[in-house]
């Protein structure tokens, strides 16, 4: 099979491939700890474009015990579970930051957050890539961020830096109605105000805790906030809320406006004329 074409679209790339395969004859050079990274090549290139490089794949894990009996029926917040979730997240974040520091990174980007709540323990796992300014020496104060390599480079260009992963959680018991109220409401379309208030305050509490951790870290705000919520699979009357995101602060004197260019893609799907549109359909 021949791949020769009259107008070769990428002659330089072909030469690069031949040069690269010829280089395999040379042995790898041992530069100490090898670089490992779960970033895509696009993310690695973008990091380099803003003067940063990947250093090592790093992890942090925490498993925190939840006392038995806390999921039984009650009212208000399930404080022990909220504390366990917060402690697990803090423990995992501290460990991933320690690994980053040992690897010589200045921070961790692209952190994947895996959090599971079980009846008697809460597990949090964080995995990301430690990064540093190209060739920079190790630093003791490192940041942890779930921003992708692309978002991190955009944030840097805009004059902001991540300061850490902020987190907040809240667990509440679903409020109960009295038998009389329940019976009365059988034939009504009515707002369950106690439900609304409980859910409202629980969400606010989780977000307030997240914001508080950001302030503690010296952040001015939080970006890319994710919120999860839902009943516990082992206790449907208990509802958990969690919110996390990357706390950021302004490093430049003022925000650097990126001035994006307008782009009109030429690959839009073909829009065919429909006669019905003349009749307003």
């Amino acid at each position: 099979m021949s791949t020769a074409t009259p107008a070769d679209p990428s002659p330089d790339l072909r030469a690069e491939v031949r040069r690269a395969t010829a280089a395999l004859a040379a042995t790898g050079h041992d530069h100490g700890r090898p670089v490992t990274s779960d970033l895509s090549i696009d993310e690695a290139l973008l990091l380099h474009a803003v003067g940063w490089e990947p250093v090592d794949l790093v992890c942090g894990v925490s498993v925190v015990s939840v006392p038995s009996g806390v999921w039984n029926w009650g009212s208000g917040e399930i404080v022990a579970a909220s504390q366990a979730q917060g402690l697990a997240f803090t423990g995992a974040a501290n460990r991933i930051a320690e690994e980053c520091g040992r690897a010589g990174g200045h921070g961790v980007v692209g952190v994947h957050v895996e959090s599971t709540v079980q009846r008697h323990h809460v597990d949090v796992e964080l995995v990301g890539t430690a990064v540093r300014p190209v060739g920079a020496a190790a630093k003791s104060d490192v940041f942890v961020s779930d921003l992708s390599g692309r978002d991190f480079s955009l944030l840097r260009q805009a004059g902001w830096i991540p300061v850490g992963l902020s987190y907040g959680a809240s667990f509440v018991y679903a409020p109960r109605r009295s038998a009389g109220t329940s019976l009365r409401q059988t034939r009504e379309n009515v707002e369950l105000t106690n439900f609304t208030e409980a859910m409202y305050s629980a969400r606010e509490l989780a977000m307030e805790r997240m914001q508080q951790t950001a302030i503690t870290m010296g952040g001015k705000g939080i970006v890319e906030v994710k919120v999860t919520e839902g009943p516990m699979p082992f206790a449907h009357h208990a509802i958990g809320f969690a919110a996390w995101g990357t706390a950021v602060r302004l490093e430049a004197e003022t925000h650097q406006y990126l001035r994006p260019k307008m782009v009109l893609p030429l690959d839009d799907a073909v829009v065919e004329f429909e006669a019905g549109s003349l009749r307003g359909q």
């Binding site: 099979m1 791949t3 679209p9 990428s10 790339l13 072909r14 690069e16 491939v17 031949r18 040069r19 690269a20 395969t21 010829a22 280089a23 395999l24 004859a25 042995t27 790898g28 041992d30 530069h31 700890r33 090898p34 670089v35 490992t36 990274s37 779960d38 970033l39 895509s40 696009d42 690695a44 290139l45 380099h48 803003v50 794949l57 992890c59 942090g60 894990v61 925490s62 498993v63 925190v64 015990s65 006392p67 038995s68 009996g69 504390q83 366990a84 917060g86 402690l87 423990g91 460990r95 009846r119 008697h120 323990h121 995995v127 260009q157 994006p260 260019k261 782009v263 009109l264 893609p265």
Partner: protein, 296 residues
């Protein structure tokens, strides 16, 4: 299966004259543009049976706190309560199950070697777009490793120095960008680590939410389990670093699983895969990207 020859069916398929490829059309097109000519879809398999690691197993090597498994990571925990009863878990241990890791490495390694053997038989220089799976067959104790990729020849390029083709999980534009960035794929790098948690009393109580009946207060980290989870991830990364020989690991994928065996006991396993890449030229940083807004 003997190592000296490909299965007869594989030899017949590879000699048929038509090339086959697992590449998507965009990846296929990008590879042709790079001067990579597909010569065949190559694959390797290995079916492994996992033995029993419980009581009476020849693999059980850590039934007391004074043995340390099959070498590797191990740490012991002692009960702080003194003698309570004969059933009390007065000691616990985390230990690396090196025999499980060796079996995984054998399964993955054999499947990978067979994929490379097929690539050698096609005269390929490299294998791109590799996909690997490990799945249970028939029952929980039998696992099949399957590795599949597209063998390619570099037009006017050098054959691999030792005759063994280079391999990568990447294909198409992602591979082109990697090479443009100054990295050449060398080989797949993969490892699995396994740590058994043999819970002592405190771990048992905490994982069952019962520590609080012993005077414990508030949320508390389960130190033994946390250390096992951290260790299993560190072991997988250390094993892969050992395969890199000064090169880098690109596109790492770290996956973990754990099986709770009850009363705080569990097995934690971690798999790390990626492409070992070698720098062949100095890196030319690209210009900071231009932000755009689509008007569609």
């Amino acid at each position: 299966m003997t190592d000296d020859a490909l299965p007869e069916a594989a030899q017949r398929r590879l000699a048929s004259g038509a090339f086959s490829s697992g590449l998507t059309i965009p990846d296929f097109s990008a590879c042709l543009a790079m001067g990579l000519r597909p010569v065949g879809l190559v694959q390797g398999f290995c079916v492994m049976k996992w033995s029993w690691y419980g009581a009476g197993s020849p693999y059980l090597q850590a039934s007391t706190p004074y043995s340390s498994g099959g070498g590797g990571y191990a740490e012991s925990y002692r009960c702080p309560h003194g003698f309570v009863s004969g059933d009390h878990r007065s000691w616990g241990q985390n230990y690396e199950q090196t025999w499980v890791e060796a079996a995984w490495a054998q399964g993955f390694g054999s499947a990978y070697a067979r994929l490379v053997d097929e690539a050698v038989a096609t005269g390929a220089h490299g294998v791109i777009g590799v996909v690997d799976t490990a799945r249970h067959l028939s029952d929980l104790a039998v696992t099949e490793f399957h590795i599949l990729g597209t063998a390619v020849v570099v037009e006017e390029g050098s054959p691999p120095p030792d005759g063994r083709p280079w391999t990568t999980y990447l294909a198409g534009q992602r591979l082109a960008k990697l090479i443009e960035a100054g990295f050449m794929p060398v080989a797949l790098a993969a490892a699995m680590s396994s740590v058994r948690v043999w819970a002592y009393c405190m771990t048992d109580y905490l994982m069952e939410g019962r520590n609080f009946t012993w005077g414990g207060a508030g949320a508390q980290e389960v130190d033994q389990v946390v250390r096992a989870h951290m260790a299993v991830r560190q072991l997988a990364r250390a094993q892969v670093r050992g395969q890199l020989g000064g090169d880098a690991l690109h596109g790492a994928r770290l996956t973990t699983s754990h099986r709770e065996l009850g009363e705080g006991d569990e097995v934690v396993e971690c798999t790390l895969r990626g492409t070992r890449v070698r720098r062949f030229k100095d890196f030319d940083p690209v210009e900071p990207p231009m932000p755009t807004v689509r008007l569609s």
